[in-house]
């Protein structure tokens, strides 16, 4: 009797999808492992991206979905720069991540909707904006805003909560489902030495200074933009949290005076976001080791840009623009933030979740391994 063997179905499904999404270069890979050799992030225990290239060729979607290594890749593109066959392993890994995010996302139809952002982007961006325009219009009776413009008059806090609390809950639930699925699968494949919190504690410093990203060569210019964006997002998160506490618990009223400490944190975050964003966009347009820009990247970057620019625009517009124009910017801001929330578990944004988990997993798993 022949030993048991893995039954393979080459080419169908996954591979066709890989090709459609722009990862078709992977077919050129002939497994020389130059990519793994030049990668500064790969680990000796599970070297990537050579193995992932092979799995992608064979269309082994389940193996890729259950592989934490794909998240440890920061798409430095050192591999792509040195690949002798122009198989673009960096790009392939990105497309693989996009497909895995879609694969893990629940509910599936939302995942597919976001996954096909190349065609669905007008809906993904437009629908939340239209929703907010209609919602605010209906509540305020389509009144023309007066000067001085006070956003809280037109959009009271309850309206914000009425939308973002359910949206946040949906996002958290969807992210939780995906995260739990992968965390469990990874744990079964390679046992960990401790729990999630221990793992996160072990990597938080790495993440906050982008110690891994620093090791990239081809994509080192991208690291600064990415780091600023991360700090900007964390600052925005802090701003929102502080504001919520101050308003709900201590009855703070908006607009805040320009010298208020929350205002200062918010503005500082905005500056980080704008500069980070500018660096990343410049990086991509100059093609400095960012890899090819697919819909997966373009949609997320556009969304972030719209959130940041409309936010800054609404803040400044309140002071310097006609009220109607400022309000329009505010509506765009609210809409894109809603889109950012809702698409988080299904868009490129999800890498924040999965990469963090994968780094934590790797830390815990490597502690378990006999050295």
């Amino acid at each position: 009797m022949a030993p048991s063997a893995t039954v393979l179905s080459p080419a169908r499904g996954f591979r066709a999808e890989l090709l459609r999404r722009g990862g078709g270069d992977a077919a050129r890979c002939f497994q020389c492992a130059t990519c793994s050799s030049v990668c500064d992030l790969t680990t000796s225990e599970s070297a990537f991206p050579r193995r992932q290239m092979l799995w992608a060729q064979w269309g082994l979607a389940d193996r890729l979905a259950g592989d934490p290594s794909i998240w440890l890749c920061h798409q430095c593109n050192d591999c792509t720069a040195r690949c002798p066959r122009d198989a673009s392993p960096g790009d392939a890994m990105q497309v693989i991540r996009a497909l895995v995010i879609e694969h893990l996302g629940a509910p599936g139809f939302v995942a597919r909707l976001v996954g096909r952002a190349r065609t669905t982007w007008p809906v993904l961006l437009g629908a939340p904006i239209v929703f907010w325009a209609l919602y605010i219009g209906l509540v305020s009776g389509f009144a023309v805003p007066r000067t001085p413009l006070v956003y809280a008059d037109l959009v009271p806090v309850w309206m914000i909560y009425s939308v973002f609390l359910p949206a946040g809950a949906f996002t958290l639930l969807a992210a939780f489902v995906g995260a739990r699925r992968t965390w469990r699968a990874w744990g079964e494949a390679s046992p960990r030495s401790g729990g999630l919190l221990a793992g996160l504690a072990g990597i938080v410093a790495d993440v906050l200074v982008h110690r891994r990203f620093q090791r990239c060569e081809a994509a080192r210019p991208r690291k600064n933009g990415h780091l600023l964006l991360l700090w900007g997002f964390l600052g925005a998160l802090l701003t929102t949290t502080l504001l919520g506490i101050q308003m709900d618990v201590f009855g703070l009223k908006t607009p805040l005076p320009q010298g208020h400490y929350i205002k200062l944190i918010g503005n500082a975050s905005a500056v980080l976001l704008v500069v980070g964003l500018a660096l990343l966009v410049a990086n991509r347009t100059r093609g400095q080791g960012a890899g090819r820009t697919r819909a997966f990247d373009a949609f997320f970057l556009t969304l972030v840009a719209m959130v940041v620019l409309s936010g800054v625009g609404a803040e400044l517009g309140r002071l310097f623009l006609p009220p109607a124009a400022a309000l329009a910017l505010y509506v765009v801001h609210l809409g894109t933030v809603l889109s950012l929330f809702l698409t988080f578990p299904f868009s490129k944004f999800a890498h924040a979740l999965y990469r963090t988990l994968a780094m934590a997993h790797e830390r815990l798993a490597s502690e378990r391994r006999p050295s």
Binding site: A2, P3, S4, A5, T6, V7, L8, S9, P10, A11, R12, R15, A16, L19, G24, A27, R28, Q31, L54, W55, Q57, W58, R85
Partner: protein
């Protein structure tokens, strides 16, 4: 030659290293009628002095005591029907490789000069036998290589007869519409040149096409082959041909021997040739149910590179599979193709095509070793181990294509001859044991019965001798298309496994050789590797004992024999290697400029000092094709070697008559070293068998030496490649050390 003149060059350090006056005196006392020195013999003045002496009929034998025979060839070339030239390589053998003004160097030079003078004396004027010969080229086989050969020969102005056994021209590629690309950008299929070629050759008035025909007899020799062809209904016709191109191609390996790969278990396991036939019909359908397969799995190296089947790589099956994958994906873009290979070989520009195939979304090229193919319920399953995934995998398939290798359509002429001989012995039934032995041989060779293709009337068998794996190949770099039958050249997959582009090129190459051999023979000259040599072998048949060694051992089947076994020499088949001369125990075979006597006389001229002088002597017989040029190059690089060595270049190690070895040792020479080309399957011997024969003959002589209470180690036979010049001094030194160990030759002074 009666009137030997010695022309001594004192340039290139010769004059400053040697005592030229002494050499001149030596030449005179050696019997030279004319002795002359020149500071630069190859300069116009020097050359003119030689020509002047020849023109004035002062001399008819010229000893050029200067540089090696491999240099200044044009300057020192004379018409050998008027005067023969002997080159004495003082520069390479003495001056550049030994210390100047040294008594041992001088003694070496003196030996060389005496040897040259005596050899010149022993030469006779050569006779040129030019004649008008048949220009027709016979091409056997109407596949791509044969068609191309026919067209090429016709384009060069030779009439052609093309014989094809099947009813139509085209061969295996007849139904294949598109081939692997041979022009940039090498990434798409290109139309096969075959249909145009079939049309143009068929319509060419210079080419007579005989289909459904076979060659039933070829007798004679190049330039005047008498060919008999048997056509449909047994009708025979005869015509003359000057040269023959055999392009009988190859056939796919018998897939019925590949049961482990599912052949026979399911009709849906087919060969590449079966798939080509399917594609030619434009119908991609499973033989079992006529449905279009969803996934085709190609199994590469099916029965190839496998000791139990074909041990070699056919080099074109990968290209064929890639071509078929491309054709399938072009016509049926939804059909998946997986190619499972051990090593995918896409030489040359094939790499571009391989990459183009690889980028198809429905194509998977995967490495691994296919262990087996099983069929159950209409589905096929291909099991593969050693995949890059690091595990055993199984791939389901609707159609499995076995990419089988190529088996040459050759006939083993020597085996057929042995079979016929054995049957004759059985018939004769001279003794019980002899009959039994013959019966065993006949049984072992029975499968060669009826395989003859050319039906040569040669003594050595009716077809070309084969080399490895049944291919009548030749050394693939140095002498492509050559076979061991002069005037008969092989082209295409018969010669070696190859792809269509190579086969077409082969047709051209073999046709050029065929045209060349006819024109060379018309001038009375030999072909490769002694191109231009027109001195034929001379047989002094009065003393022949009909031992048949010459007829047996000639690598080229030059010599037939009559009823009694007397050799019949066919000069146009001869390559002038003198292997017959080395074989002949009666020493009755000689050439105008090369004979047993001439070399033996040279050996006699080597001065053997007394044992007390402690100056041993070593005779080195070096093959002119590789070892001697390597020695020249070593000297050119100023390598130094043992001063006791006396080098005599020989045409081929196979031309060495054992008498020379015996003569040397009986004269007190301490040892004889023979250096020839590499032998065996990957031989580099320019006469194919010479080096091998020399080894065999000298093994025999070593037994004789032992009987004479001489150490067998005094004779050493070695192989050397052309580029191993650094090894030569080492080989000489090692041999000298061994001889020192053995002590002086006890026959010294007798």
């Amino acid at each position: 030659m009666d009137r030997v003149g010695v022309f001594l060059c004192t340039g290139c350090d010769i004059g400053s290293s040697l005592d030229a006056a002494k050499l001149e005196g030596l030449a005179r006392s050696g019997g030279a009628v004319h002795v002359e020195s020149s500071p630069c013999l190859c300069a116009p003045d020097g050359v003119a002095s030689i020509r002047k002496a020849v023109d004035a009929q002062t001399v008819d034998g010229v000893v050029v005591a200067a540089c090696s025979q491999r240099h200044k060839i044009e300057e020192f070339r004379l018409d050998p029907t008027v005067a023969q030239v002997e080159r004495v390589a003082l520069r390479e053998q003495a001056v550049w490789s030994h210390p100047p003004k040294h008594e041992d160097t001088q003694a070496l030079a003196e030996d060389l000069l005496r040897m040259g003078v005596v050899r010149a004396k022993k030469m006779i004027p050569a006779k040129r036998c030019a004649e008008t010969l048949e220009q027709t080229v016979l091409v056997v086989g109407g596949g791509l290589a044969g068609l191309q050969a026919a067209q090429a020969a016709a384009d060069m102005g030779n009439p052609v007869v093309l014989v094809e056994s099947s009813p139509a021209l085209g061969g295996w590629l007849a139904g294949v519409r598109e081939l692997v690309p041979s022009v940039p950008p090498y990434d798409r299929l290109q139309p096969s040149p075959l249909p145009d070629l079939v049309r143009s050759v068929g319509a060419d008035p210079r080419v007579r096409v005989l289909v459904q025909s076979r060659v039933s007899r070829v007798s004679g020799q190049p330039g005047k082959f008498a060919v008999e062809v048997t056509g449909p209904q047994g009708k025979t016709e005869e015509f003359a041909a000057g040269a023959i191109v055999q392009a009988t191609g190859a056939r796919p390996y018998d897939a019925s021997k590949l049961a482990h790969l599912g052949h026979g278990a399911s009709p849906d396991v087919v060969t590449s040739a079966d798939l080509d036939a399917m594609l030619a019909r434009g119908a991609l359908a499973r033989p079992s149910d006529g449905k279009r397969p969803g996934r085709i799995v190609f199994v590469q190296c099916a029965g190839s590179r496998d000791a139990g089947h074909l041990p070699y790589c056919s080099s074109e099956c990968c290209g064929t599979s890639l071509r078929q994958v491309m054709a399938v994906s072009k016509a049926w873009p939804d059909v998946e193709c997986a190619v499972l290979y051990r090593d995918l070989r896409a030489p040359g520009h094939g790499e571009h095509f391989y990459r183009a195939v690889q980028e198809k979304s429905t194509v998977m090229l995967a490495r691994g070793t296919v262990e087996g193919v099983t069929a159950s319920g209409g589905r096929l399953s291909v099991r593969m181990k050693d995949s890059l995934l690091g595990e055993r995998v199984e791939i389901e398939a609707d159609l499995v294509v076995l990419a089988v290798g190529m088996v040459p359509n050759s006939a083993d002429g020597e085996a057929i001859r042995q079979l016929r001989d054995a049957r004759k012995r059985i018939e004769k039934n001279e003794s019980e044991t002899q009959r039994k032995a013959a019966e065993e041989v006949a049984a072992a060779l029975a499968h060669h019965d009826g395989t003859a293709i050319l039906n040569l009337t040669y003594r050595q068998g009716p077809d070309l001798p084969v080399l490895q794996h049944g291919f009548p190949d030749s050394h693939f770099i140095c002498f492509p298309y050559e076979t061991r039958r002069t005037g008969i050249y092989t082209a295409g997959a018969l010669r070696a496994p190859m792809d269509p582009a190579q086969a077409a090129e082969d047709g051209w190459g073999a046709a050029m050789k065929a045209v060349q051999v006819i024109s060379s023979l018309e001038r009375g000259e030999a072909v490769h590797p002694r191109s231009g040599d027109f001195a034929c072998a001379d047989f002094f048949l009065n003393r022949c004992t009909q031992c048949k060694r010459c007829t047996e051992e000639c690598p080229f089947g030059t010599i037939d024999e009559d009823e009694k076994g007397t050799p019949f020499y066919n000069p146009n088949r001869c390559r002038r290697c003198a292997i017959c001369m080395g074989a002949c125990p009666e020493r009755i075979i000689s050439y105008a400029d090369y004979s047993v006597d001439a070399v033996a006389s040279m050996i006699k001229e080597i001065e053997v000092p007394d044992e007390t002088e402690e100056k041993p002597r070593i005779l080195a017989l070096l093959c002119e094709n590789d070892a001697y040029p390597a020695l020249d190059d070593a000297a050119m690089k100023r390598a130094t070697w043992n001063p006791w060595v006396r080098v005599v270049p020989v045409r081929c190690l196979g031309s060495v008559n054992v008498v020379w070895v015996a003569e040397s040792l009986s004269r007190g020479i301490d040892g004889v070293i023979l250096i020839g080309c590499k032998r065996g399957d990957d031989y580099q011997c320019h006469f194919v068998k010479g080096s091998e024969l020399a080894h065999k003959r000298l093994e025999n002589i070593q037994e004789t030496l032992t009987r004479l209470s001489l150490e067998a180690e005094r004779v050493r036979v070695l192989e050397l490649a052309r580029n191993e010049l650094d090894r030569i001094p080492v080989l000489f030194d090692e041999f000298a050390e061994k001889l020192e160990e053995l002590g002086a030759n006890p026959l010294k002074g007798f």
